[in-house]
Symmetry: C2
Amino acid sequence: MLSRFKQTELWLPGISVDCVIFGFHENQLKVLLLKFHNTHVWSLAGGFVGVEENVDQAAARVLYERTGLTDIYLKQFYTFGDLERNDRAAEEHRSVTTAMGSPDDDLSWMSKRYITIGYYALVDYSKVVVNPGDISDAADWVDIAALPHLFLDHNKIVNKALEAMRQSLDEKLIAFELLGDTFTMSEIQAVYETILDKKIVRTNFQRKMLSLDILVRIEKKFTGGAHKAPYLYRLKP
Amino acid sequence: MLSRFKQTELWLPGISVDCVIFGFHENQLKVLLLKFHNTHVWSLAGGFVGVEENVDQAAARVLYERTGLTDIYLKQFYTFGDLERNDRAAEEHRSVTTAMGSPDDDLSWMSKRYITIGYYALVDYSKVVVNPGDISDAADWVDIAALPHLFLDHNKIVNKALEAMRQSLDEKLIAFELLGDTFTMSEIQAVYETILDKKIVRTNFQRKMLSLDILVRIEKKFTGGAHKAPYLYRLKP
DNA sequence: CCAAAAGTGTTGCAACTACACCCATGG
DNA sequence: CCATGGGTGTAGTTGCAACACTTTTGG
C-alpha cells in the first residue's frame, strides 16, 4: 500500500518536496495539513521527485494529488538541508510506526536524511477536494494562527513560506489567488490583513486597489447579508 | 586525483551546491569562474554535500576551498531541479573528457542528473586567494556584463543570483560585503550603480547613505588621485 | 430609519528626485 | 586658476496614513 512512498529506483534518493498549501476561509488564512494513520502527527503535503520529473512538476503533482487542482500558483521558496531537521525523526518514526502497528508498512524512509525543497501554493479554498492519500487518514485546513506541532521541521517550513508570501504579496498581487473568480472588496482586504497581520484603513486600501487598474466591478450586486449591498469584483483579463 | 568528486558513500547522491561568488573590482561586478582542465568550459564553483554535513556548510566549504575565505555573506537563493538542466550534459561531458584525454578520470558524474542548490556569496575581491581545485586548471574573475557561455545552466543560475542580490541590496545593506574595511563614498555608489545597473544622483545617494547612520568617516583622507581628497568611510560596529 | 457598503475630499508626513549652488583642496 | 570631491538647500512628486464626511441601498 505504501509502495509508492518507498525508495525505489523510481524516485530520486534523499530528496523530497513539501507543499505549504494556503487557503482562505472564514477570514482565516489556513494551511492544508495531513495526519499520519492512527497518530496525531501532522505534516505538510509532501512527496518525492521522480527520476524523470522536474522538481517543479513533482511539487505540482503533490499539490494535485492532495487537492485535485492544477494550474495553481505554486512557488519554490527555500530548500531545507540541515542535518538537524531529522533529529527528531527517529523518535517520531517510532511513534508513528508503533501507532500503525503494522510491521509491513515500510516507513524507514522517515528516519533517513532528506533534503526537502519547499513550495507554497495559493488555492481557492472552495475548489479543493481534499484527498489524504495513502499514508494519512485525515487532511484538514488549519488556521495559520493556531498551528499544532508539526512533523520534523515543518513548522519552520510554514513560517518561511509565510515570510516569502508576504514579500510577494504586493509585488505580484498573489492575494487574488486565494479568492474565487469574484469577490468583494472587503474580502480582498481581509486576505491582506490576515496575511500581513495588521489592520488596514478601508478607504485607503480601496483607493489603492482600484488605482491598480486590475479590477472590474461587476454590475450585478451581491445578494447576501442583512442590510447591505457590496459590489463584486473580478480580475481584469 | 578526482576521487573526492566521485560519488561515494561520503556524499549525498544527486545533490550539489553551486556558489555564485561575487566580487567588485575596477568598477565591475565580477563572478569567480572555474575552467575545467584543458577545456574552455567555464563553470561556477560547485561541490557535493557530505552525508554528515548541512547544506549551508557544504556551500561554505566550497567557498572556502576556492577562495580561502570564511565568515562570508553566503545566501541560498534557489534550487535548480529541472531535468533539462542536464540536457547538454552528455555533449559537454564528451568534450571535457576528450580534452582531458585521461580515461582514468571518472567524470561520469557530469552526465548524471543533479539537483543543485544555488548560493551567492559576496566577498572582498582583494582578500581572495583563488584556488582552482582538482578538476579545474584555471579560475578567473569575469565581469558580469561579459559572461561567456557557462557549463550546463550556470548562466541561468548567475542571473537568478543577481536578481536575488538586487532584491536584498537595500534591505540588508549587502553592498558593503563587496568592499574592504574602508572605502570612499563613490566606491559604494559604484557598487550600487553596477548592481542595480542604473545611474544614481550623487548628492541624494550620499545623503541617504549618511542618514542610515551606519558609516563612520575616518579623518585620515585618501592619499590617492590627481586633484582630489575623498574621505574614507568604515562601517559602524 | 438604520446599518453596512461605497465613495470623495483633505491634510500631513516621509521618502525620493532633480537641480542649483556652495566650499575645500591639490596640482 | 580649475577640476574633482564633498556638502547644503530647496522645490516637486509620490505614496501612504488618518480622518471626516456623504451617498447608496436593502430590510
